[in-house]
């Protein structure tokens, strides 16, 4: 039993890292833009769909191209739609982005059809690693390692680059950032693009794991919201810890009580919010109080 629990925990961490990537983009967008982006799952799905399409055109070189395409679509979405919501009630942004997600899913369905799109991991990663009683799909291990590299790079970007510092400052006091002569609208567009890029990366990584379907974004968005809430809205570290926690809890629940696996993360969220209403790493942000 201990072997199984350790194996499930390892597997849960792999799933958790994927969740972290989805949730982090959502958290960054909320932190700086103050937008509860219900359409975040769409960019996750688009990442998967464009990787399938671009893979067909350019082979594996098409995968990074797919991420760039989704980032550009995200920035266009911010420019054409999202920026009109900055001075509106958060409920308005929730409703508008929800409507946008429905529209975008319908567009995906129209372009690619409702049927699933087959997409596989590279041949070199299409096997399993067996170590005694432990087993792990090589591709999942690769996802976990790649996610760690992306998270470390993003952390360094946010902390050690000029744009990262502007972004963090803007998340606390966008007005002051604007007064310092920084082109805030351009920063906001870039930030939304960054969030969409993270969702697209998660979508690309998920494409060989999950069947690529129009509703895959919907399946991803709820765990992402739960993770952001558990971790604390806008908190980088919170999203990482909460993502891994949700992955672990889901895997261990499947081991002992599979019927409750979908509900487990909501129970976890309820318990944490009872103790820490702002989430694990949530802080008091003046602009959201």
């Amino acid at each position: 039993m201990l072997d199984m629990m350790v194996m499930q925990a390892g597997n849960g961490l792999a799933l958790g890292f994927l969740y972290v990537l989805i949730a982090l983009g959502l958290s960054i967008i909320f932190g700086l833009l103050g937008i509860v982006n219900f359409a975040h799952g769409v960019f996750f799905a688009l990442g998967a769909y464009f990787s399938v399409t671009m893979f067909g055109v350019m082979g594996w070189w098409g995968v990074p191209v797919a991420m760039v395409i989704v980032t550009i679509i995200g920035m266009l979405t911010e420019f054409l739609l999202i920026r009109r919501l900055y001075d509106k009630d958060p409920l308005v942004s929730l409703i508008v982005t929800f409507a946008f997600s429905l529209l975008a899913e319908a567009v995906i369905r129209t372009i690619w059809g409702p049927e699933g799109q087959p997409f596989n991991a590279p041949d070199a990663l299409s096997n399993v690693i067996i170590f005694g009683p432990f087993v792990m799909a090589t591709y999942r291990l690769a996802v976990m390692l790649l996610a760690m590299v992306i998270l470390a790079s993003l952390w360094a970007f946010l902390n050690y680059t000029k744009f990262g510092r502007i972004l963090r400052a803007g998340s606390r006091d966008p007005g002051m950032v604007g007064l310092l002569g920084i082109n805030l609208p351009r920063v906001l567009t870039g930030t939304f693009g960054l969030g969409c890029l993270l969702a697209a990366i998660a979508g690309v990584l998920a494409a060989p794991l999950w069947t690529v379907t129009p509703s895959m974004g919907t399946a991803a968005i709820m765990p992402a919201f739960v993770i952001v809430t558990i971790g604390g809205l806008g908190s980088y570290m919170g999203a990482v810890v909460a993502g891994l926690l949700v992955g672990l809890v889901q895997s261990l629940t499947i081991q002992f009580y599979p019927e409750a696996s979908a509900a487990a993360m909501y129970v976890l969220m309820a318990l944490i919010l009872l103790v820490r209403p702002r989430g694990l790493f949530g802080e008091q942000w003046e602009r959201f109080e």
């Binding site: 194996m7 409702p114 049927e115 069947t211 379907t213 979908a262």
Partner: protein, 417 residues
């Protein structure tokens, strides 16, 4: 503004008044000529198929087949224009509400649909309440033509226990330690219950039994449990997109071919979505586009579908087409759009296929029809041609009666029309 203005010798009538006059004129003329007005109104058939969610990939094919059936009749029924009104199935509650809307607002004369068993059960209740003929074209749960039956609801899919029993001769020799992985809703539970009963009779052992929430994207934790339990066979009861996800991840963990997997009433699109590198198993399906025993009408349908959509017809496309064909033939045979006349025509509808009399049982409105046991080919030649037909069952009229049972076996208590 004056009521009448004159400009350049022309008399101008205010636009609102003009429109009002036209509307009033149209209303009066429709009262004066009711037959003409009614003839212009098309006969409407309601179609309930999911446009989103894990079953939507099957529902798309069901919808395409349904529309194709009407196109083949030049979009006419009873010599009048006919149209299909397609509405969504998001949840059982919404499916029921949409059925009501189709009946009350769109004035449909019949319903088709029920992509998932729990949707079909909700729609069936509405069909019974509003006395509207309804054929379930995909739901396989036993209750549809069992405990929840009503005289207005008919069903195409053989019930889960019938398909499970037909599968047993192909599974018993594999081994008697079985693991159950089924979705936690009517269809999945029916599969688990049916196969557990058969396994008990065969003296087998259940080594695992997991219920999976519908819409689960990641099956890795379930797969690790199955691997640890070392069963001889895994019985799946997953639906559409969930089955695709499972099979893909089953292969990722190197389980494909190591532990056999089986499921009943799967759809071709579920397996096509996985990719030919990832698929394995034995399944039941109602129809296969390459089945050599397909009737000439089926072959003509397959050709028409291929021509229109530039891909082979999935079993679900055939199921949509076949169900619609039966409904349309019944309406034409009834020479009426009255519900009771259509129901009576459906109960009398029959055709011969493969030497079997295909018909609805009078006691539960279940269609008796052959279906297929198929195995995934070892070397799949292209993105569509996945199956070898292992058997067409039931193979004889006697076997069909034995498989589908008699009125005495049924728990359906059919009320009068």
């Amino acid at each position: 503004m004056n009521q009448l203005d004159s400009l350049n010798g022309k008399i101008l009538v205010p636009r609102r008044r003009l429109l009002g006059g036209i509307a009033a004129g149209a209303a009066v003329s429709s009262l004066a000529m009711p037959h003409i007005a009614r003839a212009a109104e098309p006969i409407r058939i309601g179609l309930l198929e999911a446009k989103q969610g894990p079953i939507s990939q099957q529902a798309q094919y069901l919808q395409q087949g349904t529309f194709l059936a009407l196109e083949q009749l030049n979009n006419e029924l009873l010599g009048q224009p006919a149209e299909i009104v397609w509405d969504d199935e998001i949840s059982p509650q919404a499916a029921g509400q949409n059925a009501v809307q189709l009946i009350e607002q769109n004035k449909v004369v019949a319903l088709l649909g029920g992509a998932l068993s729990n949707f079909a059960l909700a729609e069936e209740a509405i069909a019974g309440q509003y006395k509207i003929p309804f054929i379930v074209n995909n739901g396989a749960a036993e209750d549809i033509t069992g405990a929840k039956c009503n005289p207005y609801t008919f069903r195409l899919q053989p019930p889960v226990p019938v398909q499970a029993a037909a599968m047993m001769p192909f599974l018993e020799h594999i081994g008697k330690r079985w693991y159950f992985l089924s979705a936690s809703y009517a269809f999945g539970q029916d599969i688990a219950d049916s196969f557990k009963a058969l396994l008990k009779t065969a003296g087998g052992v259940i080594v695992g039994d997991d219920q999976v929430p519908v819409g689960t994207a990641d099956y890795s934790a379930f797969i690790l449990k199955i691997r640890d339990a070392k069963p001889d066979l895994v019985i799946g009861g997953l639906t559409s997109g969930d089955l695709s996800n499972f099979l893909k991840q089953w292969n990722d963990f190197g389980m494909r071919g190591k532990i056999p997997f089986t499921e009943i009433a799967v759809g071709d699109p579920d397996l096509w979505a996985v990719g030919k590198e990832n698929v394995s198993g034995i399944y039941t399906t109602l129809w296969w586009y390459k089945d050599p025993n397909n009737s000439p009408a089926d072959k003509a349908f397959a050709d028409a579908y291929q021509k229109k959509y530039n891909r082979p017809a999935a079993d679900k496309a055939w199921m949509g087409w076949y169900t619609a064909k039966i409904m349309f033939q019944a309406i034409n045979a009834a020479k009426s759009t009255k519900a009771d006349a259509i129901v009576e025509a459906l109960q009398n509808w029959h055709e011969i296929d493969g030497g079997l009399n295909v018909h609805f049982n009078k006691w539960n409105n279940q269609l008796e029809h052959r279906f297929l046991i198929v195995g995934v080919k070892k070397n799949i030649p292209d993105q569509w041609d996945y199956f070898d037909v292992l058997a067409s069952v039931p193979g004889s009229p006697e076997a069909m009666t034995a498989a589908f049972g008699t009125a005495a076996d049924s728990v359906c208590h059919m009320t009068a029309l």
